[in-house]
């Protein structure tokens, strides 16, 4: 029985016993007793489908009960009985079930997507933290080595100015690294993380905007490095792609180092992003997905198209740049 109007002031009609609300449009309140009589009448008449308001009214014989009252109540009664009917009606049930299932799947997908975005964000922070820590190790090692070498070599040229000075600073390291790197593997100080050296890059080096590092996780915007921050000297996160990172910079760097020359002869240790293959132009083009960031791309979430939600145990294609919009701006 529906009693939607419980909180309205009511008054009992003296002659019929009906309870009516006292607002301007009086509505009948279907009390339990009244409803029972209604149900009786309907049953007598052969069920809600057979009974009509007129016949019910006649059978019930309640004064003041209008057809209007009965019509609406009968309708509600019929609908109220409906769920029982649905159990027997398979097509209806299936449709409902399918819809319900679809909605649930949708919600599940949404939830997963959201969770995945969270994971992504966290992953980036964690990689950065690891990188920062690595950096502190390298710095200390640098200082130790530099200190020793200063003492030993009677004060070699100070400063770690990129790799331009590579011959000067760490003669012992030269010795060690000679087999591997030719010129020294530099561990530049915190402020100066240009691993790119060699004359051909010096001018580009200076174009690179540098920001002072801060301990709360902002990184050098040493944008020439691409995602992997260069070689042994940096603890940089692989995930810093800056706005100005140009495709050709990335494409150029490995390719101009690569085919014609041993990269380390020019004093450059470059660890490029893994998907850069210097031999394939096709690859370079695909990099535009990752590295060519347009100003229009904002931090309003990962481009879902790029972020494959795959139920299979596979990772999203590396060409996707899940962290593209989660850049740390210096």
């Amino acid at each position: 029985m529906n009693s939607h109007h419980d909180n309205r002031p009511m008054c009992v009609q003296p002659d019929s016993g009906l309870v009516l609300t006292t607002d301007p449009k009086p509505r009948l309140r279907w009390t339990v007793e009244l409803h029972d009589r209604f149900v009786d009448a309907v049953t007598q008449l052969g069920g809600p489908d057979k009974a009509t308001p007129k016949t019910i009214m006649r059978v019930m014989g309640v004064k003041g009960l209008t057809l209007y009252h009965l019509k609406s109540h009968l309708q509600k009664f019929r609908l109220g009985k409906q769920p029982h009917k649905e159990f027997n009606d398979h097509s209806m049930k299936d449709a409902v079930a399918h819809t319900w299932y679809a909605i649930r799947m949708q919600m599940e997908v949404q939830r997963r997507l959201h969770e995945q975005l969270e994971v992504q964000r966290h992953l980036q922070l964690r990689i950065e933290a690891q990188g920062k820590y690595m950096q502190s190790i390298l710095e200390r090692a640098c200082q130790t080595l530099a200190g020793e070498n200063m003492a030993a070599a009677g004060g070699a040229a100070g400063g770690y100015k990129g790799v331009g000075n590579h011959r000067g600073v760490l003669p012992h390291m030269d010795g060690a690294m000679k087999d591997n790197f030719g010129p020294t593997l530099n561990f530049p100080p915190f402020q100066d993380l240009n691993i790119y050296g060699g004359d051909q890059h010096l001018d580009i080096q200076h174009n690179v905007e540098r920001s002072s590092p801060s301990l709360d996780g902002h990184f050098m915007s040493n944008k020439r490095h691409g995602p992997y921050g260069g070689g042994g000297g940096t603890g940089k996160s692989p995930l810093i792609w800056s706005d100005e990172l140009r495709l050709q910079d990335l494409g150029m760097a490995p390719s101009c180092l690569g085919p014609q020359d041993d990269p380390f002869k020019t004093g450059v240790i470059q660890i490029g992003p893994p998907s850069i293959d210097t031999t394939g132009i096709g690859k370079l083009e695909s990099l535009s997905d990752i590295y060519d960031t347009k100003p229009g791309i904002s931090n309003d979430g990962i481009d879902e198209r790029k972020f494959e939600l795959s139920p299979k145990p596979e990772r999203p294609s590396p060409r996707r740049a899940p962290f593209q919009t989660e850049r740390m701006n210096p």
Binding site: R112, E115, Q116, V119, Q120, L123, L125, R126, I127, E128, A129, Q130, K132, Y133, M134, S136, I137, R140, A141, L145, E148, H172, M173, G175, A176, M177, D179, N180, F181, G182, L185, F187, L215, G217, Y228, G229, G231, G232, G233, T234, P238, L239, G258, P259, D262, P263, I269, I271, G272, P274, S275, T278, T279, P313, E314, R315, P316, S317, P318, R320
Partner: protein, 489 residues
Amino acid sequence: MAMAIDNAFEVDFCSYSTSTTTTTTADEDPACTWNHWGSPVVDWGSLSSERDEFQDLIESMMDDGTGFELTRLGHDHETSNSVSTDTMVADEETNGEDFKGLRMVHLLMAAAEALMGANKSLARVILVRLKELVSPSDGTNMERLAAYFTEALQSLLEGSGGGHSKHLITNGPQHHRDKHREADMLAAFQLLQDMSPYVKFGHFTANQAILEAVTHDRRIHIVDYDIMEGIQWASLMQALVSRKEGPPTPHLRITALSRGSNGWRSIGTIQETGRRLTTFASSIGQPFSFHQCRLDSDETFRPSALKLVRGEALIINCMLNLPHFSHRPPSSVASFLSGAKTLNPRLVTLVEEEAGPIGDGGFMGRFMDSLHHYSAVFDSLEAGFPMQCRARALVERVILGPQIAGSLTQIYRNRNEEESGRWSEWLDTMGFNPVSISFANHCQAKLLLGLFNDGYRVEELANNRVVLDWKSRRLLSASIWTSPPDSDL
């Protein structure tokens, strides 16, 4: 060029073989040398002319069971050699690289077998021959890989590492060694992290599981089996500081196990690691304290030596993979894990190298599997960074080379024993319960791999175990465990 070498090769071996007659055609054909070998059955036709990964070669050989059919020199006149010389000659032009690769593999196998059979002089000869073919810094993956294996076998031959014989791989003159070693190690470590997910995979999977297990704890205590530089904990601290659920910035306590001699692989000491971690923690506002727990000289772990605090969540962290020294004596790991069980830890995180199916191949089987494993590692590094030969060479020399040596040493020592099996299985039989790896954790692993080369995959081998694969080869396994709920204290 190749032919000249082969002729020399043949000459070397004639004196060691009782069957000096070349039973095949008279021409000085490389095929003849295979006869002396008792060549395994090789389907030359199946060698693709395209230079595929070295590991495929090994794989196909292992599938044929070729490695185990190798007859010893001097024993057998009858050689089941189904190699047709025609095919040989024809293929040699197109498959020069493959041929050389196979030759090296066969030589390695022969050397290993000779070593097993205590035929030291034979092994020595083979190794000399190998050294002419291989090079640790130039050449293809297989040449470099073979170089490290040769070196490792050489060390085994001489008993202990070092000695009088000329080593292929030098680590520089002695007096410079320490400083450069440290610099090399650092550089190589950094490079390894940048070039591959080996390091981060294990660390991040473990850390995520830890985070999930301690969401509502105020005090966390981690016992780390092999802390090295402590890099795993940087990201954990970051995550703890920024966690949103549960008590904010819980106190983190780390106890690092230290050994009498960390060996040459460590950069600095445990104390330095502690200082670094403390500095880092304070820089991000993480309440932190660091402790050290000494292992006995035989590396037995005594749980009573740990300082425990009531109400803290105890985590046991056991990293046995690259670049941690993978080949700690099994007794040490066993004592650690069984000691850990008595402490009823909230969580046990285990990361180990994954070996392939050995079957009952014994020493040779494990040797081949090791070869297969490291060839996959070499391939993966190359695939990611094809042009960075020098960087890879450094990583190979400083990290992988010693790993290979350690792996072979362990295989050799345990050659007469049963297959040791995985530590994760051991934990299972010890009574630890598996802890499911969450969706977020899986997701993180996949995202991480997405930053690297296509060839890496995550495989979920069990609810509580994920594996990092390179192509079809499983490399690392990370598994999560907990104490059974009703165990007594």
